[in-house]
């Protein structure tokens, strides 16, 4: 056995089987269990190390050749695989409670497999193609076959596809920069093209207009999954670039640009969120603001880049899954996520509303919740490097706090004498409850993430060393 077969081929094939051969009722369970098993295997079995089980020796080799190129997952990738498949399992188990069914789990598994391939492919530059293919697989999830595609979906497809040529071409230019580091014009061209590619991929200001559009047009659960999975792998891909090219890593201009772009995303995301009257769009803008935090973390002049980035990545998966699940439950009841439609729902859906508010608060960096420790670490670094940028980050987070206050006010604005009742199913209550408890645990005891993130800097040869 080898690692790419286990963590790329198997989930892809399982996704295919679920899509065509499994009843939708069982797909969340099967998909979730497979993801969990893959995370467990990555946690238990070290890659490239022989294990003796009785008389049987097991060794998972790290690479496989495919069309003359190598796909390689080594021991350093194990913690990342555990995190990715563990969080994916959470999303798949939540499918049942959200009301989404067969295709989400099947295509979701295939997407995660493709994205895992993007971190395994060598040269790593080709990951841009795999990211684009994963983005295309998301389309059938975003647009049910009975619904006309909206403008958000088309924009999403255009932006993700545009990113790929920019990144592939910049890779070629970067090789030229390495060969002749003194050529300033080539360096500027390479940096600009690379920046444009990642701006399209991550939805850097102003290229994120598809996100709030999608939150209105498509299922919140599917869009939430998309907002978790694609930026996660894009950030890892971007860190790969920083690690690979010394001049990028050491360039003060790039660092300043990243900090400026990140602050702009956080501030604009937060301020726009505070003005919305649609709870789905609020989540979209909150996700934009959080992506801005990733961009900021990548722009830090510090050896803590990797730690802070991964510290941000893990709670994001939990926050978005809880938030998206809560929105799905509300949307099934209210049909629209406008303030006017969801007013007073705290009385009829108390657990859902509580989970939504907690996830939202966590994204604003509220103490005791999962988002607080990584933000604190980021604020500390930013305070040392640029208090102005830190001010704009606080402006953005204040915007998110205003948005959560308005949302809470709308939810509790029920008619007089409306009775409190629990209308969620036990599956929904369990999933939301577990998610909310998880938010508190990660907030109060962030050190439980230590075993997962302690070895993550080993993913990169230079970054964070």
């Amino acid at each position: 056995m080898n690692a790419p077969m286990i963590w790329i081929l198997i989930p892809f094939v399982v996704g295919f089987v679920i899509l065509f051969f499994l009843h939708s009722r069982f797909s969340p369970l099967v998909g979730g269990a497979v993801s969990m098993a893959l995370a467990f295997i990555a946690f238990i079995f070290p890659i490239d190390t022989a294990l003796l089980l009785g008389s049987i020796s097991i060794k998972i080799s790290s690479s496989i050749q495919f069309f003359g190129r190598s796909f390689s997952l080594n021991a350093a990738d194990s913690p990342l695989i555990v995190i990715i498949y563990g969080l994916a399992a959470l999303w798949f188990f939540g499918t049942e409670a959200s009301g989404s069914a067969n295709r989400f789990v099947a295509l979701g598994l295939m997407i995660v497999a493709l994205l895992t391939a993007s971190i395994a492919v060598e040269p790593f530059l080709f990951a841009a193609l795999l990211l684009d293919m994963a983005a295309m697989l998301v389309i059938p999830l975003l647009v049910p076959v009975y619904q006309k595609p909206g403008r958000g979906v088309v924009r999403f497809l255009i932006y993700q596809t545009l990113a790929m040529p920019f990144i592939l071409f910049s890779g070629w230019l970067l090789a030229g920069v390495e060969a002749s580091p003194g050529a300033i014009d080539v360096t500027v061209q390479a940096g600009t093209i690379l920046g444009l590619g990642f701006a399209f991929l991550l939805g850097v200001f102003p290229l994120y207009n598809w996100i709030p559009m999608l939150m209105e047009e498509a299922s919140p659960y599917v869009t939430g999954f998309l907002l978790w999975v694609l930026p996660t792998f894009t950030v890892i891909f971007a860190l790969g670039f920083l690690d690979r090219y010394t001049w990028l890593r050491t360039s003060p201009q790039l660092s300043s640009t990243l900090q400026f772009a990140g602050a702009l995303m956080v501030a604009s995301g937060g301020l726009f969120a505070s003005q919305q009257k649609h709870i789905g769009r609020i989540m979209g803008y909150a996700a934009i603001a959080e992506t801005g935090l990733f961009v900021l973390a990548m722009g830090l002049n510090s050896s803590e880049i990797v730690n802070i980035t991964f510290l941000l990545l893990i709670p994001r998966g939990l926050e978005l899954s809880v938030w998206a699940l809560a929105l799905s439950i509300i949307k099934r009841k209210a049909y629209s996520l406008r303030f006017s439609e969801v007013q007073g729902m705290a009385r009829s859906h108390p657990v859902t509303v509580a989970a939504l508010i907690l996830a939202h608060l966590s994204m604003t960096g509220f103490p005791l919740l999962a988002g607080f420790p990584p933000r604190l670490a980021l604020w500390q670094e930013l305070a040392r490097q640029s208090p102005v940028i830190l001010f704009w980050v606080f402006v953005g987070l204040a915007g998110l706090l205003i948005a959560v206050s308005r949302t809470l006010a709308v939810f509790v604005m029920a008619e007089k004498d409306t009775a409190w009742k629990l209308t969620e199913s036990w599956v929904q209550v369990t999933m939301l409850g577990l998610g909310a408890v998880g938010l508190f645990i990660l907030g109060i005891f962030p050190q439980i993430l230590q075993p997962f993130i302690v070895n993550l800097p080993a993913l990169f040869n230079h970054l964070g060393q």
């Binding site: 080709f126 193609l129 059938p140 049910p144 009975y146 006309k148 255009i158 596809t161 592939l168 070629w172």
Partner: protein, 203 residues
Amino acid sequence: MTTDIISWIAVVLMLATSTAILINRDWRLSLGALAVQYAAAFWLVTRHLPFVMGSAKLITGWMVVAALGMTRLGLSSAESEKEESFLPGGQWFRVILMFVVALVSVGATPRIESAIPGLGWQVVAGSLLLIGAGIVHLGMTSDTLNAIFGLLTLLTGFEIVYAGIESSILVTGLLAVTNLGLGIVGSYLLVAGAYPLEMEDEI
């Protein structure tokens, strides 16, 4: 010498087909132009890639054209979407835009050829034309089918120039899958919403 002449003919064909895709409203004509565009692109790609790898791009392109054509054929004309654009929609406006793209391509080709020696003027010119046409197309439309045409045109332009600098089989294969994926996604988006709710299978 003959090869160069054929390459220039391919460039002219690209200009003609990309202009045709941009200015006409008949999807049949656009698909026909796209098929010819792929044939012209095939010629330029084989200047740097082996014939077999170039053929893969051509066949993939034609498969995309076939998929989009079959899907669009199955939809009634009433289901075709009206073009929504805030820009002037006249054909002459689009022709002028293509003229600008052609001018930019003519101006930029020598510079890019000197920056990436060995690509060939025809390859650079053809690639720039298609990339420019694709960007103009994407900027002018919000219609799904036209957006797919724009993306396919842009990607073809990129593939022509990228073939000159990267000859990996894996990249060629993945780019082919990306093109095919765009065709399939485009077909899916065309079909979505065209059938009544009872035919729907759950998400």
